[in-house]
Subunit: 108 residues, 2 copies
DNA sequence: TCCTGTGCTACATTTATCGTAGCAATACGC
DNA sequence: GCGTATTGCTACGATAAATGTAGCACAGGA
């Protein structure tokens, strides 16, 4: 699994262009990535609470996504335990808020 | 591979809640989905041009994503050939535009 | 007719994710 | 101390999804 340290560019899958938007789209395009950010939007959650919020997704992927999101600087592990958004992550989450309104109108 | 007709709700993976935002986050959280929307943001592209734009992603997934995005009503296949965004898809894409600015500031 | 480009598919290989179980560490109350 | 509960996190076999390469049928254009 991808878990190498965030030393370098890390050639995020399918985006060797170096354009940051591609790296971001790729990171957010992995399973549960968007969902994790969404579930943390209001308050920090423990790893198990987050798992519950994410329909009991397997801890393997959740842990992988959390590591990636932490390396990206969007999520952090509070010293008292529990995952929360960093200021940057909160900012990113704000970017996604209009999606909520859109989804409500969409209603497949 | 997921390819069933859009007959029913289709229980989008990991979102049995019925909340549309979950379905949307799930759909957009599949590989190349966000990227496809992004690459189509300006002009329609043929399937092969889209493939080139997406770093030569395998046509199997691209075709799968395109089918899903079409069923969702975000993408359509123009009668002259070439994939383009529907008005709804364009609207969704607008929602993601702030992401571009964010990514530029992010620059991992 | 041949050539080119379109959307799209087959299929074997590789990779990601799932599901279940369990670990070490850190607390609690007794 | 002892048990018990919770934390973050990992192992590992089974399953689902993505990759890479090749190629199909169809529709023009020369």
């Amino acid at each position: 699994m991808a878990k190498q340290a965030g030393t370098a560019t890390r050639s995020v899958r399918g985006s060797r262009s170096g354009r940051p938007i591609m790296a971001l789209l790729d990171l957010l395009g992995r399973r549960w990535a968007l969902r994790i950010l969404w579930e943390l939007r209001e308050e920090p959650l423990t790893s198990r609470a987050l798992r519950s919020a994410c329909d009991e997704a397997s801890p393997t992927v959740l842990q992988a996504r959390l590591t990636e999101l932490r390396e990206a600087g969007f999520v952090e592990l509070g010293d008292g335990g529990g995952y929360g958004l960093t200021p940057l992550g909160r900012e990113l989450c704000e970017t996604f808020m209009p999606l909520h309104r859109f989804a409500e109108r969409w209603r497949r």
